[in-house]
Structures are given as structure tokens and as C-alpha cells.
């Protein structure tokens, strides 16, 4: 596999846009002038609500959708100008589809995709065997895919994506529809691929816990634009607030306090859980004083790990508020 890269980036997206003409004649912009880079060996999360433009972006990276403007380089190969070479850099498992042939066996699938991607028969055999052993499916290699569980089918799809040893693996919703055990297996596999095989992995997912556990860097898309592109830890600390859970005995009698508007208040087993952001230690102590003044009995105070889901929701909410202000301004 030829890699011609001068920047050291696995993926470079420059001023990428995609617009469609609707049947009503109006223009719809799915991706709006985005710029993005993914470093080699990075595990990169690509988030966004439905219709945000992530799948269109992924499909443009895969050469399945032609951009209206901009360009995409995969290990330095231009997807638009050097389609064949660019495709040699990636292995892809797309969302919501099978990606592999269900009437064929695991081995037949792996060999077919090996040949399709231009591997020699010897290489396909060697890599196919190694991959199926790594994925613990070697004993089932001669079984028809249709009879496999969803998790096993997904692992075979990943084996087929990796058969030509691409340095970039693109996974659109890799854990969608998998049960808890299959999700754990998938997460462990992706960690191994990143750590042991130094693959660049790009994941899109609505399961944010999966992204938080696997990714080093995350970009969030909203209405075709990138609204955040940061290291995971930076992103988690984006709102500069620490989250706490305060547990008090009995019912809570301070619901009307305005400062609690961002808190989740839940009663369970004769206690009340107050969960929410407290910006500083001083503020935390002042809160605890208020609880004592109200005559409530404190059971525990525990800091909570920052949550990607919270950050994601806040960012998208902020963008929506900006959008609605813009709309009001335009209307006025």
C-alpha cells in the first residue's frame, strides 16, 4: 500500500461542502465549508444529531458522494483525483447495512473482499486467517453469515474492511444494535486495533459512552458545520464546571431555589439525589451550608466524571439558541 503523505495527517478535509437541490428548487446544504484533520494513529469521534451532516461527510471521504466544493486527502491521496489510491488507504463499515454477503461463508467473504481490494491470493489467505483468529471467528469460517449473531456479523464486516491492511478504519455506528456483551467485545477490538496495530480509527456513533471510552479527539457537527473539534478532555471541560451528586436524607424542600434550575432532583429509597454543575469549591460549601440551614441531613457528596453526553447536548442546545436568535433577527 502506497502512502504519500507530507503533512503526517491521516485525513485532511479542506473547505468541504455538499449542497443538494430540493424538488422545490431550493438549495439544501448538508455540509457547509468544513475543515478537519485527523492525525495518524488517532482514534477520532465524529458526533452529531440526525441530519447534522456526518454521514454525508463520511460518504464523501469514501468517494461515494461527490462534494460540491473542497477536497479530501487520505494519507495524502486526493479522493476526487486519485480514487483508487485513496480507497487503498481506508477500510469502511457503514451504518445500518450488512456490508458483507450474507449468503456466503465468513471465509468466502474475506477472500472476496481481499481480491476486490487488489490483494494477492496469498496475502488474502494469510491476513484472512490472522484476522478471523484475532476476532475469534476462525472456527466458524465455513459457516454462512446469515446464521451468525449481529455482533459476529459486525466483526466479519470489520475483518473484510481490514483485509487489505488499510491504515485508516472508518466505522459508522459500529455498536448500533449490538447487545451489551457484543458492544464490550467491539470496544475491546477497537482498542486493540488502535493500540497494537496503530490504526487511525474514525467512529461516528450516537452511543456517546462508546465514543467517550474510545476516542482521543472528538468533532461535533451541527447543521452541516463543525461546532467543536477538540481533544476529548478539553471538550469534557469545555463548560468549566464540575459535576457533583449530593445525597440527603428524606425529601428535599428547596425546589424553588433558582440556582437549582440546572440540577436533576430525584428521590429514591427515602433519600434525595441532587445532580448538577457546581462551578467551584466555595460554591459547593455554600450549598452544603444551605442544606444544613434547612435542617436536611447530608448523607454523601461525590464528584461526577464529566460526561460527553452533557457536553454534546449543551453545545447543540447553544447552537440551536443561536439559530433561533438569528431567525428572529432575520424575521425582524
Amino acid at each position: 500500500m502506497i502512502e504519500k503523505n507530507v503533512t503526517g495527517m491521516a485525513v485532511e478535509i479542506n473547505n468541504l461542502s455538499k449542497s443538494y437541490k430540493k424538488s422545490s428548487g431550493t438549495q439544501f446544504t448538508a455540509v457547509d465549508d468544513i475543515n478537519l484533520s485527523v492525525h495518524k494513529g488517532e482514534v477520532f469521534g465524529f458526533l452529531g444529531s440526525n441530519g447534522a451532516g456526518k454521514t454525508t461527510t463520511i460518504k464523501m471521504m469514501c468517494g461515494l458522494v461527490t462534494p460540491t466544493a473542497g477536497r479530501i486527502l487520505l494519507n495524502g491521496c486526493d479522493v476526487g483525483l486519485e480514487h483508487g489510491e485513496a480507497m487503498r488507504q481506508i477500510g469502511v463499515v457503514l451504518e445500518g447495512t450488512r456490508n458483507i454477503y450474507w449468503p456466503l461463508t465468513a471465509w468466502q467473504n474475506v477472500m472476496y473482499f481481499g481480491n476486490l481490494k487488489g490483494c494477492s491470493r496469498k496475502d488474502s489467505k494469510e491476513r484472512g486467517e490472522a484476522l478471523l483468529k484475532e476476532l475469534e471467528l476462525w472456527d466458524r469460517r465455513n459457516d454462512i453469515i446469515r446464521n451468525f449473531s449481529r455482533g459476529m456479523q459486525q466483526r466479519i464486516a470489520i475483518a473484510c474492511a481490514l483485509i487489505a491492511d488499510p491504515s485508516i478504519l472508518i466505522l459508522d455506528e459500529p455498536t448500533l444494535g449490538l447487545d451489551v456483551e457484543a458492544t464490550q467485545i467491539m470496544k475491546a477490538l477497537l482498542k486493540r486495533l488502535a493500540q497494537d496495530y496503530k490504526k487511525t480509527i474514525i467512529i461516528t456513533s450516537h452511543q456517546l459512552d462508546v465514543v467517550q471510552e474510545l476516542c482521543e479527539r472528538v468533532a461535533i457537527m451541527h447543521k452541516g458545520k463543525i461546532i467543536a473539534d477538540k481533544n476529548l478532555n478539553e471538550l469534557l471541560m469545555l463548560f468549566g464546571q464540575n459535576y457533583y451528586q449530593i445525597k440527603i436524607k428524606g425529601a428535599f424542600n428547596g425546589h424553588r431555589v433558582d440556582e437549582l434550575k440546572d440540577f436533576i432532583i430525584k428521590e429514591e429509597d427515602g433519600a434525595t439525589l441532587l445532580t448538577g454543575p457546581i462551578e467551584s469549591q466555595t460554591k459547593l460549601y455554600s450549598w452544603l451550608d444551605k442544606i444544613r440551614e434547612q435542617g436536611m441531613t447530608l448523607i454523601s457528596v461525590s464528584p461526577l466524571e464529566p460526561d460527553l453526553e452533557e457536553v454534546f447536548l449543551k453545545l447543540v442546545k447553544n447552537e440551536r439558541e443561536i439559530d433561533s436568535h438569528e431567525n428572529i433577527k432575520n424575521y425582524a
Binding site: 487503498r88 457503514l94 456490508n99 449468503p103 456466503l104 468466502q108 472476496y112 487488489g118 473484510c160
Partner: protein, 261 residues
């Protein structure tokens, strides 16, 4: 060499998948036989005439190819779009037109196995006297090239419009009456005969009958211009079909509808 390997890879996969549907294929064979005997009775005025059956068998067999190729191209592409394997194929480093040709070989091989089985049973069962000289292969290859070119057009349209299955079925069925499978084109009204001769397989059927039943040599067909006409038609259909397919792929990528179904 690499190109050939990729085409053979596609052919092999097609054959493996076709083997999975052997029961359905067997039922199709039975249906082919029943329909052919029915047509034989109609053409023979209620009787099975072996001379007329031989004539019809040539046209009917080529029509079977038309039906398999035209409907199959559309159905297979939509099936692959549904399974997500179509997008995987388009992410291959090799030009998609080569893969399309590889798939066509697989369709040609499976169709030939089915149609040969059907023909053997019919020729043996109904005692039809027919011999197959080697030169027939030249006409057959040219006819198939034109037919597959037409199939590429259908495949391309499938990528853009998706719901062309009905149109493909209608086109395949219309060919049964228009390409001379049942009645010689010479018996059509002049305007219809002219139109029929532009369709894929019509000229092929005429020339196959000339070589199989009338034992005409190739040079005679070349001299009277009919072989030149077949060659031209096949080149136009095959080359034009490939160009239309490539254009349709570009269009589907622009519309972002390649993997839709």
C-alpha cells in the same frame, strides 16, 4: 492480469451466490419448459411441429438470456444496495466498470448453464433436430455483447431512479414479441420491423437461425452485410451501455443516492 483477476473474483462470487438459489433456479427451468411448450402449441396451431419448434427454440433461448440479463441487472443492484455491499464495491480501488463486466460474466455463465439444461431437455424430449456448428459461437458472443450493453444502461438507470424494476420487466417481456423470438421480423409491418431491428438481440436471432437452421457460413453473412450490422450494433450497445453506466454512476454520486434503494 490484475484486471482479469478482479473480473474473475466478481464472477466467482456471483456463481457462489447463484448456487445458494439452486432450488429457485430449478423451478425457473421447469417454468421455461412449460411456457415454451405453450408457445409451441400456439405457433403450431394446436400441434407440436418439430420444424417450427427448432425455429422458435433459437429465438426463445435468446429471449431467456434477455430476460435474465435485463431483469437481473436491476434486481441484483437493488439487492446489493439494500445489503450495503454495493457501496463496498464502489469503494474498491478498481474501476467499477471492470467489476460490472465481471458480474456480467457470472450472469452469462449461470444463464448459459440454465438455458443449456433447458435446451437439452427440450431437444431430447421433443426430438428436435438441431446441430450447433462452431461458427455459431461468434454470432452468440456478438449478440450477448449487445445484450449486456443494453443491460448496463438498465443498471445505470437503476442507480439513479431505483424503481426501474417494472420498466426492466416490461422491456424484457416486450422483447419476446419484438425481437423475432416468436415470429420472424420479416412478417412485421415495415415500420415495426425497422424499429425491431434496432433492438438488442433481434439481429443476433436472425443470424443464429441462419447459422443453426439454414447452415449459412459466416463469410456469406459478412458478404450480405447482416454480420456487419450485428457487429456494429453490438459495439454501439456495449460501448454506449458502458458509457451510460459510468455517466449514471457520476450522477448518482452527485445526487448522493448511490446506496439508496
Amino acid at each position: 492480469m490484475k484486471t482479469l483477476k478482479i473480473m474473475l473474483n466478481e464472477t466467482y462470487k456471483g456463481l457462489l451466490i447463484a448456487w445458494n438459489y439452486k432450488f429457485e433456479t430449478f423451478l425457473q427451468l421447469v417454468m421455461m419448459g412449460v411456457v415454451f411448450i405453450g408457445i409451441g402449441f400456439i405457433i403450431g396451431g394446436g400441434q407440436l411441429s418439430t420444424e417450427k419448434l427448432a425455429y422458435t427454440l433459437v429465438g426463445y433461448s435468446i429471449w431467456l438470456y434477455s430476460s435474465i440479463v435485463i431483469s437481473g441487472m436491476c434486481r441484483d443492484l437493488l439487492g446489493e444496495a439494500q445489503a450495503g455491499t454495493l457501496e463496498q464495491i464502489f469503494m474498491s480501488p478498481v474501476p467499477v466498470s471492470l467489476i460490472l463486466i465481471g458480474r456480467s460474466f457470472s450472469t452469462l455463465i449461470t444463464a448459459t448453464i440454465n438455458i443449456l439444461l433447458f435446451m437439452i431437455v427440450i431437444v431430447w424430449g421433443l426430438e428436435i433436430n438441431i446441430s450447433v456448428p462452431g461458427r455459431t459461437l461468434v454470432i452468440f458472443v456478438l449478440t450477448m455483447a449487445g445484450l449486456f450493453g443494453f443491460g448496463f444502461v438498465i443498471a445505470g438507470l437503476t442507480l439513479i431512479f431505483k424503481r426501474v424494476g417494472e420498466l426492466a420487466g416490461l422491456t424484457a417481456n416486450a422483447l419476446l414479441f419484438l425481437n423475432g423470438s416468436m415470429l420472424p421480423v420479416e412478417q412485421f409491418p415495415k415500420w415495426l420491423a425497422l424499429f425491431a431491428k434496432t433492438l438488442p438481440t433481434t439481429q443476433g436471432i436472425i443470424l443464429l437461425r441462419d447459422t443453426l437452421l439454414d447452415m449459412k457460413p459466416l463469410y456469406a453473412l459478412w458478404q450480405d452485410g447482416s454480420l456487419i450490422l450485428l457487429c456494429s450494433q453490438s459495439i454501439i450497445y456495449f460501448g454506449g451501455g458502458l458509457l451510460v453506466f459510468i455517466w449514471c454512476v457520476r450522477r448518482a454520486k452527485l445526487q448522493g443516492t448511490l446506496g439508496y434503494y
